[in-house]
């Protein structure tokens, strides 16, 4: 019995949750993604690293259809993103994204920011949502800031509110787009801690990051992108110690 349970769990863990196949995307004449393929299993933490302009952020935006793709396929929980009849609501409630510049709504308090989408988009019960939002605020250690406006919070605090805001939609996958890039060094840690906890709880995470130390520590798999292609992929530990592609090695020696 126990063995069966473990096997079922194991299978669920191995089942790919996000499958990206040969994705192409151009902005005007600039080819940003030139045939990217990768897959993310349930509860896997995937880091995408690479030089700026290599298409990392665009790839994340393609996954929740903020940016339409030109060619290829992206499947999230079986939902095909590259479909003119895509149910954007169904997709976006499954995939949360946190941005580099937090993008909180400045006219609403931290608590209201977190509650808005579940109440107005998912039409969930307000009291229920508020209880959940307060729990999430406690989780990101900002309970006392519930009634503060974004302008009154530090960058790190705003970013944690933004993470809580995405989590309140109860997504299956969380995407982080260079979420610490705009932060002061001392507040980077508090945001990374939040992500670390999420990963430990089994949330599927796709991170675009320049924090190599953090990637090495939390990631299961690392993909290195350059010029719109995934140049090298692999297990995180192996990736950082024995990258085989010359471009990856060059990049790693520059940033590590």
């Amino acid at each position: 019995m126990v063995g069966e349970g473990v096997m079922a769990m194991d299978k669920a863990l191995k089942e790919p949750q996000v499958v990206i196949t040969d994705v192409h995307k151009s902005f005007g004449t600039v080819q940003v993604l030139k045939g990217v393929s990768m897959s993310v299993r349930k509860s896997e933490v995937v880091c995408i690293i690479g030089p700026s302009g290599s298409g990392k952020s665009t790839l994340l935006r393609c996954i929740n259809a903020l940016v339409p793709i030109d060619k290829g396929s992206i499947k999230v929980d079986g939902i095909e993103v590259n479909d003119p009849k895509l149910d954007e609501l169904a997709l976006r409630r499954r995939v949360g994204i946190v941005f580099q510049s937090y993008n909180l709504f400045p006219h609403r308090t931290a608590l209201q920011n977190i509650m808005m989408a579940p109440v107005h988009v998912l039409r969930q019960d307000k009291a229920e949502v508020e209880a959940r939002a307060r729990k999430l605020l406690a989780k990101v250690r900002l309970s006392e800031k519930a009634d503060s406006y974004p302008g009154e919070l530090s960058g790190g605090q705003q970013q944690r509110v933004a993470i809580a805001r995405s989590l309140c939609m109860m997504p299956d996958v969380m995407m982080f787009d260079e979420v610490t890039a705009a932060l002061d060094p001392e507040t980077v840690k508090e945001v990374l801690n939040t992500i670390r906890e999420l990963a430990a709880e089994g949330m599927t995470c796709i991170l675009v990051t320049h924090e190599m130390g953090f990637a090495r520590e939390v990631a299961d798999t690392v993909h290195f992108t350059d010029h719109g292609r995934i140049v090298e992929s692999g297990d995180a530990k192996a990736f950082f110690t024995s990258a085989s592609d010359p471009r990856t090695r060059e990049f790693l020696t520059q940033v590590l």
Partner: protein, 285 residues
């Protein structure tokens, strides 16, 4: 004009601009400091006093004449205020719709509303008023009832159009000034375009729109005296009638100065409030 003590440069954000034109409306920026008030009042008193000294003992004083006509002038002034209030109300409603049409996703709606806005915003108000005066009939028949359209109503409609175009531009400008990242964040949380607009974008715009909107109201109120050219009995028309009936040249300056002070006393507090709001909100964003 940047160094003038009588006119301050409008403040947008933290950049003081050495210009007398409001960025959003392209209209002259009404922002007079208190020395300007002293100057105007002093001019008025000086002129009135001089005129009084020349008038001699046999005739009634300039002050007495001004006082005698004050009720009638006040009536005219109230018509100015009524026309400005109505034109502002209708112009704001129509302009808000036109402004939203300018950000429509449908190209014909966007282009059409843009063209209408530009034409009305960039033509002289007086021309628009003449156009409306001749275009609109003096009465309309709806079913069996005849609704008369007095001149002042027609003139008000004439004022509504430029107000509408300016409000349209204020709305469009304010919406465009909200960073695209707000739209992106809302989309990522599965808000629809309409929800994003009403719950996230427009609430942030209101603060940005109020100062230029108040500025527009000041300019409109001053502009309502244009109705005198098309024969509406507003304050300036009454001033001219009074001058014609009194037949005294020494009344000319005091009379115009008198009505000038009225407008000033009404508009000045509004422009002070506009500047205060702008300063207050430019800090907090």
């Amino acid at each position: 004009m940047s160094g003038s003590r009588f006119f301050s440069s409008p403040r947008w954000g933290s950049t003081p601009r050495a210009t007398l034109f409001c960025r959003d409306t392209g209209l002259p920026f009404v922002d007079l400091r208190w020395p300007a008030g002293i100057l105007i009042v002093a001019t008025f008193l000086l002129v009135a006093f001089n005129a009084d000294a020349q008038s001699g003992a046999a005739r009634s004083s300039v002050y007495a004449i001004l006082w005698k006509w004050t009720p009638l002038l006040f009536q005219g002034f109230c018509l100015n205020l009524l026309m400005s209030a109505l034109a502002m109300a209708f112009g704001t409603i129509l302009g808000a719709l036109l402004g939203l049409a300018q950000i429509s996703l449908l190209p014909p709606v966007r282009t059409g509303s843009w063209a209408l806005t530009q034409v009305l915003r960039n033509s002289p108000w007086l021309v628009t008023i003449f156009y409306i005066m001749y275009l609109v009939p003096f009465e309309v028949k709806i079913g069996g009832t005849v609704i008369p359209l007095p001149d002042w109503i027609k003139a008000t409609f004439g004022f509504t159009l430029p107000v509408m175009a300016n409000v349209s531009e204020i709305v469009r400008g304010a919406i465009r000034s909200i960073p695209a990242t707000q739209w992106e964040a809302a989309r990522s949380l599965a808000f629809t375009r309409r929800q994003t607009l009403w719950m996230i974008i427009i609430p942030q715009c209101l603060k940005r729109m109020l100062p230029p909107w108040m500025n527009l109201y000041s300019i409109l109120t001053m502009g309502t005296v244009l109705a005198n050219i098309v024969g509406v009995s507003e304050s300036l028309t009454i001033v001219r009638d009074v001058l014609a009936s009194e037949r005294r040249t020494d009344l000319l300056m005091p009379m115009y100065a008198y009505i000038l002070v009225w407008f000033f006393l009404y508009i000045y507090p509004i422009s002070v409030a506009t500047v205060r709001l702008e300063r207050k909100w430019s800090v907090k964003g």
